[in-house]
């Protein structure tokens, strides 16, 4: 395999792994429910995106054709992440989860 492709794959795998790890750390470290929502919708999205991209490069460099299913997985992930975050936020507001001290503004009631 082309060494450039190998470096690119290794780099993207590391990047993806790092972001996924940081997303998990954020889930444990951030102080309240609403701030924890931010981890999975962003850091992890890029993490999975990078891993998928490395998979695309791997299969393309091996000559198996471009991996369209990886692209589809990424698209589905980008479409579903905001929806799940939104539903989680709504549910949390509905049952009145406490926000951390120093949060400005308030969730509304309706």
């Amino acid at each position: 395999m082309n060494p450039f492709a190998e470096y690119a794959i290794a780099f993207l795998l590391l990047l993806g792994g790092a972001f996924t790890l940081i997303g998990a750390i954020g889930l444990a470290r951030l102080p309240d429910f609403f701030t924890r929502l931010h981890g999975p919708t962003k850091a992890t999205t890029l993490g999975v995106g990078a891993i998928m991209l490395s998979s695309v490069i791997y299969f393309t460099a091996r000559g198996d054709g471009i991996g369209i299913s990886e692209v589809l997985i990424t698209v589905f992930l980008f479409m579903t992440a905001p929806v799940s975050a939104n539903i989680l936020a709504k549910a949390a507001m509905h049952i009145g989860v406490k926000t951390m001290d120093g949060t400005e503004g308030k969730p509304w009631e309706q």
Binding site: P31, L72, A81, N86
Partner: protein
Amino acid sequence: MLDRLSFPQPWLSLILFVTWQFLSDGISGGSLVLGLILAWAIPQMTQGFWPERPSFMRFWLMPKYLARVLKDIVIASFEVAALIISPRKPRPAFVCYPLELEHPLAISILASTISLTPGTVSADVSDDQRLLLIHALDTEDEQEVISTIRKRYEQPLLEMFK
């Protein structure tokens, strides 16, 4: 009766059909038939959930918007990652964002964009669809959040759905 056999959302049906061909291992008779069935059944089942179609939409502006969002997702991920690792506490805030967009589809695109981009998650839309409640992870100034979203995302969407 004939209603049941039609394709109420032709574009959605086409996208579903093509997506199914990509998902299955190579195009075969079976994948074509199953793709057709899915392209017919899914729009039929979800018909009640779709908002009214916008009267006019500038589709060709979409790629530019998507490129901008993709770039912002990458930047946002680095910012959030840095904040998670740094020892200082985040300064979260709930921000009420007054919507200029009116079409439900445009609002849901904006809300999804907000959830994916720098430090913000959209939490709720008010019942009259005029306000969007946003949770910002780390912000000092509410107005800044609002003006950034207005400039970067809502203006292009307004142009698209005018």
